[in-house]
């Protein structure tokens, strides 16, 4: 499909980070009707790391990300084949319950999307519908603290989440995801709608969060991938071209295509 990859196919061995893995994708293919968006992707995401998915627009990185907590179920015509293992269970086996999977694998979207209600309810709604038995006030505070938002909103928990600035809204969305105490948090270009200082805050936040969670982040911003991620996966036209430790992918890429992309020659 891509010239240059085919030639080197023989010497291309999938990168194997050391276990345990939070997410393990095996030969994942995703198609929208007749259009194939993700081709034979195999990817192992170690626990408590940040993995960045990079690549030009339309390369399938967001599609792959959404398939990890079955958000693709809501896209008409999307078909996933292959296996995605989470805690050893294939989340695409017929018996798997997508509601349980989404509760364990949280998601932060490109555009901040707080619920049109108070900051407190933004945090508590998810735990409430999933039967959280602990102390809700404590949950609100720890979630907001972990999302580095507490100091800014402590006095106004009952005000609308939509009254916050864009960067604060996005951190509220992160707090909302954290409140569910998930294993994995998926982030789909979480900073693309934000200004540089909000972006910086979120990047610092990610570095703190990886002690507790595994984070997979799709980003268009290669500097961001470099700053925050431990491993980087480069995708092109639906294929996983290169996957490895971030430093190696950016400094000594094994594929010509990766080198061209990370050096800004296309994309």
């Amino acid at each position: 499909m891509v010239k240059g990859i085919e030639d080197k196919m023989g010497e291309r061995r999938p990168f194997e980070p050391s276990p345990p893995y939070a997410i393990e994708a095996r030969d994942v293919n995703i198609a929208y009707g007749a259009r194939r968006a993700v081709l034979d992707v195999t990817l192992k995401v170690p626990e408590h790391t940040i993995v960045a998915l990079i690549g030009p627009s339309g390369c399938g990185k967001s599609t792959l990300l959404r398939s990890i907590n079955r958000m693709n179920d809501f896209v008409t015509g999307a078909k996933v084949s292959g296996e995605i293992l989470f805690r050893g269970h294939n989340i695409y086996e017929p018996a798997a319950d997508p509601v349980l999977i989404r509760r364990q694998i949280g998601m932060v979207f490109q555009k901040p999307n707080p619920f049109p209600t108070s900051i407190r309810k933004n945090i508590t709604w998810g735990p409430k519908i999933n039967g959280f038995q602990g102390n809700y006030d404590e949950l609100v505070e720890t979630s907001l603290r972990r999302a580095a938002l507490w100091d800014e909103v402590a006095g106004k928990l009952d005000e609308s989440g939509l009254a916050l600035s864009g960067g604060q809204q996005q951190r509220l969305c992160i707090a909302r995801a954290i409140a569910m105490d998930p294993d994995v948090i998926l982030m789909d270009e979480p900073c693309s709608a934000l200004d540089p200082s909000s972006t910086l805050k979120i990047e610092n936040l990610l570095l703190e969060l990886k002690d507790r969670f595994t984070i997979i982040i799709v980003t268009h911003n290669m500097q961001q991938a470099r700053r925050v991620s431990d491993y980087t996966a480069f995708m092109y036209q639906g294929e996983l071209i290169e996957y490895g430790p971030t430093d190696e992918v950016f400094e000594t890429p094994r594929q010509e295509l990766t080198r061209d992309y990370v050096s800004g020659r296309f994309g």
Partner: protein, 321 residues
Amino acid sequence: MMTDYELTQGSASIGSPPINGVATQSRQVPLESRQWRPRRTRRKYVGYMFLLLTLAATLLGVAALYVLLESVISQGWARLSWDFISNFPSRIASRAGIKAALFGSIYLTGLVAVIAIPVGVGAAVYLEEFAADTKWRRVIDINIANLAGVPSIVYGMLGLMLFVRICAFGHSLLAGACTMSLLILPVIIVTAREALKTVPNGVRLAALGLGATKWQTIRAHVLPTALPGILTGVILSLSRAVGETAPLLMIGALSYMAFVPESPMDDFTVLPIQIFNWSSRPQDEFRVAAAAGILVLLAILLTVNSCAIFMRMRFQRKMQW
């Protein structure tokens, strides 16, 4: 660089030497070059014409409404009294009242609301939130949109057939309410769907991403967000049901009733039928009663519509957008 160039150009051509190197006056240059023919006067004239046309359209509607109100109020205002509302209709025009019709209208609207709101909103939620985009759904879409345009007398015939005869409800309040519900269902469905479409998809994804089921998402976030729009459609269709006459005549609602219906299976009449009946009598006094009846009907419609506006504002505030 650019600024230097402009400064020297300007000051050189104006002829006044710059003081301390700063231009004192800037040169006037034509605002438009010769290659352009903007015809601004003509464009502004056309724009003004359209303003007048839209204003005329507005005034025409208001004027027609004013003429109607003026004639009805001048005829009927004096006839309005507590007796008029609390008396049953009578052969003697001066004693005739609207009690039966008023209660009939209120009960009918209440029953219609109970039947049409859950069914209509339910159908809208199914079509908008659950149904996959298949050929079948598109067939249903088109049919619902067309049903909204079917003449009300046709619904009357359907009601006569289905509810009066087949379901054997007779000429009852229930048969009337079912018929009227059928009539306004398409409008409720279409407006409720439009309201659901305006809910940002991010809200749905956020809820689903937290491990909510589809129904939890709809119940807690989608419906509340769409509620103001849904309410508007519901209330507007209900006020249409209050004013509609033809289908009820078709299913055989009475035009003379000297009692208030006590159960859904009782016979009934409604205000528009009472008004229609009076206005077709030869005696002038009955025409006056008809005018007074119209005033009561208008008052009910106004109340219902203000309720809609009030509820919409309340819910919108609650949403904290």
